[in-house]
């Protein structure tokens, strides 16, 4: 029992650390009553920040132990307390809904209540299933869990593994955000038992849905986000792939939250969202190389739009610098140990090299389109996102946000095509083994657009209806 519960203690501490960071950057109000609603985002923020910090500490030779984890959490709590003290926040204007008679509760409370019941039941069923699920997918045990196993059995980035030719097949260059997160759970458990791992992966889904709803709470009504997020949660490409133990879906979740935070910044210029975006994109980039590519795409597009609109590009530059700095320790450590990735990035910038292998481009485009349109896995998320992006662009409602999501999606997709184009692997094998997973990032960027823009469009529709009714009346 203790072995089963102790790893959940890690999750609680990650959520507390994340909440403290959110308080420090001002994304969550100081009122404790509002913290519960932010818990999903807090968990993912903790799962982003703490492994980033532990990766940096590992890279400089600090021991990887539960004590070090405890110190990192304490530092996060200290930062949170500092932010909490200095924040000057006006008191809420009205009494919270739960202090009012239930008959006067707004309809949205009932919608959220129904959502909590339905999604809560699904989350519990999923947890019950994940509780007994063994880790059987190849890369999940051979790459990700193996690295976590080494971080559980050794207190450092033991070079006999992390920089050894004997283990070249585990992609030594891959960042270690997820192995660090996994190893914390194994250490808390006291043993490397992979059957106890996927239940914690499941928490990513619960926290993600909770986080998207929380982040967009001021822009999107519950009547809009509730069905859309339920549809996303029901997509086997999301929940099924998450339960393989691969890093793609957690990475895509970080990207999605980073995209929403950037879109909110573009929409309102609120620097606090930008700070959150930096955290999420750093975590994505420290999870997989595709996450780095998506983060670069999002930041470039946000920069271009902000520049075009005369927004404070320096603020964005600072966020990009923070993102870059956060992932630097791992990159420096791998470079210092002469670990090279499989991607010939420099060759990929050489026009001659690219021209010699143009036959790889169209099959890559086709494979990404094919996988993205797999209704059996992703339901209808991408076509529905395409519809609202189109409506926003034509109507002008949320055009800046729509432009951001569309351009980010296209740039990230182009980046993935480029990676297949320059890859030294046989194309057919490479596409077969990765396109279905990699596309998760694009789908979740699409989900961000779908929820955000549906909310903006329907808000505009309702506002106009009220305005015209007042005019007619």
């Amino acid at each position: 029992m203790r072995a089963d519960l102790a790893p959940f203690g890690v999750d609680v501490l990650l959520a507390l650390a994340g909440l403290a960071i959110l308080l420090a950057i001002g994304v969550v109000p100081r009122r404790p009553g509002s913290w519960m609603a932010a818990l999903g985002l807090a968990y993912l923020t903790g799962a982003a920040v703490v492994p980033l910090a532990l990766t940096a500490l590992l890279a400089i030779g600090a021991p990887f132990t539960l004590e070090t984890f405890g110190v990192v959490v304490l530092v996060c709590l200290g930062i949170g307390a500092w932010g909490w003290r200095r924040a000057d926040e006006p008191p809420p204007r009205a009494a919270p809904w739960w202090r009012r008679p239930w008959r006067s509760w707004p309809a949205e409370v009932w919608v959220v209540g129904a959502f909590v019941v339905v999604f809560g039941a699904f989350a519990l069923i999923g947890l019950r299933s994940a509780w007994v699920m063994p880790l059987t997918e190849w890369d999940a045990w051979s790459i990700w869990a193996r690295k976590a196993q080494m971080l559980t059995g050794h207190d450092s980035l033991v070079t006999g593994f992390f920089a050894s030719d004997s283990y070249s097949w585990v992609h030594l260059d891959y960042p270690i955000q997820i192995p660090v997160w996994e190893a914390l759970h194994f250490r808390a458990r006291g043993s490397f038992e992979t059957v106890a791992l996927l239940r914690h992966f499941w928490l990513f889904l619960v926290a993600f849905v909770w986080a998207v709803a929380y982040l967009l709470r001021d822009r999107v009504r519950p009547l809009v986000w509730a069905p859309l997020l339920l549809l996303a949660a029901a997509a086997p490409g999301v929940w099924g792939q998450l339960l393989t133990g691969y890093a793609d879906v957690p990475m895509a979740m970080f990207v999605c939250l980073g995209a929403i935070a950037l879109a909110l910044w573009l929409d309102g210029g609120d620097g606090r969202r930008l700070a959150l975006a930096a955290v999420m994109l750093a975590a994505a980039a420290n999870t997989k190389n595709e996450g780095l590519m998506a983060a670069v795409a999002l930041l470039l597009v946000a920069g271009a739009i902000a520049f075009g609109r005369g927004m404070r590009v320096r603020q964005l530059g600072l966020a990009a610098a923070v993102t870059g700095a956060a992932i630097l320790p791992w990159r420096i450590w791998t470079a210092a140990h002469h670990i090279e990735g499989d991607m010939p990035v420099l060759k990929g910038l050489n026009p001659g090299y690219l021209l010699d292998r143009t036959e790889r481009v169209w099959p890559s485009v086709e494979a990404i389109l094919h996988e993205g349109g797999d209704v059996g896995r992703w339901r209808y998320l991408l076509p529905l996102a395409g519809l609202v992006v189109g409506a926003a662009l034509i109507s002008g409602v949320g055009r800046r946000v729509a432009t951001f999501y569309l351009a980010s999606f296209l740039l990230a997709a182009a980046g993935f095509v480029w990676s297949y184009w320059i890859s030294s692997y046989p194309l057919e094998w490479h596409l077969q083994t990765s396109a279905g997973r990699v596309v998760a990032v694009l789908i979740l960027i699409g989900l961000a657009a779908l929820v955000h823009l549906s909310g903006l469009l329907l808000n505009a529709f309702t506002r106009q209806r009220i305005a015209s009714a007042a005019r007619d009346g």
Partner: protein, 191 residues
């Protein structure tokens, strides 16, 4: 091209909503933003049945996996593949966690080789090093089967999987046998 056809379908539904909105008296931008009704309506209609479908699949997986306990679940991949997981468990009990090993894998019948790498041997190498971790493998060629005489001499232990230790082209310490062709031996350096 299925994504494009789905997109065309979604745009068609959006166009229909615009037409209906216009019939209802909404004009211009108002009829366009009404398009957002489509995803919300689609999600509202589909989400519950799809969640129920996911619930069924999750319950099926639970029923399938619930009988697996402890080591059975931990070793499922190796057992399903037919690898000698008991041998690796036996070897792990004899090799200290701070010691190193080198894995020698014998020829696998009907082996398929891609780029010089035996697919089965490569898989056994990955599984064996996983089951023996956190003990570290040394001098482990990605080609899995030892092509270089005496490779593994730097390891504390040599682990023979489907490989007769007598065929090892180098000096060995005492050989501890689990079964014919499944054994561990102190390396010449460590004995």
């Amino acid at each position: 091209m299925r994504l494009l056809s789905e997109l065309v379908g979604a745009l068609g539904a959006g166009a229909l909503v615009v037409l209906i909105a216009r019939q209802l008296g909404f004009t211009g931008r108002r009829s366009l933003v009404a398009v957002a009704v489509v995803p919300v309506a689609v999600a509202a209609v589909l989400a519950l049945p799809l969640l129920d479908e996911a619930r069924t699949q999750l319950n099926d997986r639970r029923d399938e996996n619930a009988p697996l306990v402890g080591a059975e679940a931990q070793l499922k991949v190796g057992v399903d593949a037919g690898w000698a997981v008991e041998f690796f468990t036996w070897a792990a009990e004899r090799i200290g966690e701070d010691e190193t090993f080198h894995l020698e894998i014998g020829e696998v019948p009907d082996e398929v080789r891609i780029g010089g790498v035996g697919v089965q041997q490569g898989a056994i190498l990955q599984w064996g090093t996983y089951q023996l971790a956190p003990r570290l493998a040394v001098e482990q060629s990605p080609l899995a089967r030892d092509e270089k005489p005496g490779e593994g001499g730097e390891a504390d232990w040599l682990v023979f999987y489907g490989f007769d230790p007598a065929d090892y082209p180098g000096p060995l310490g005492k050989v501890i046998t689990y079964a014919p062709e499944y054994a561990i031996a102190r390396s010449d350096r460590a004995r």
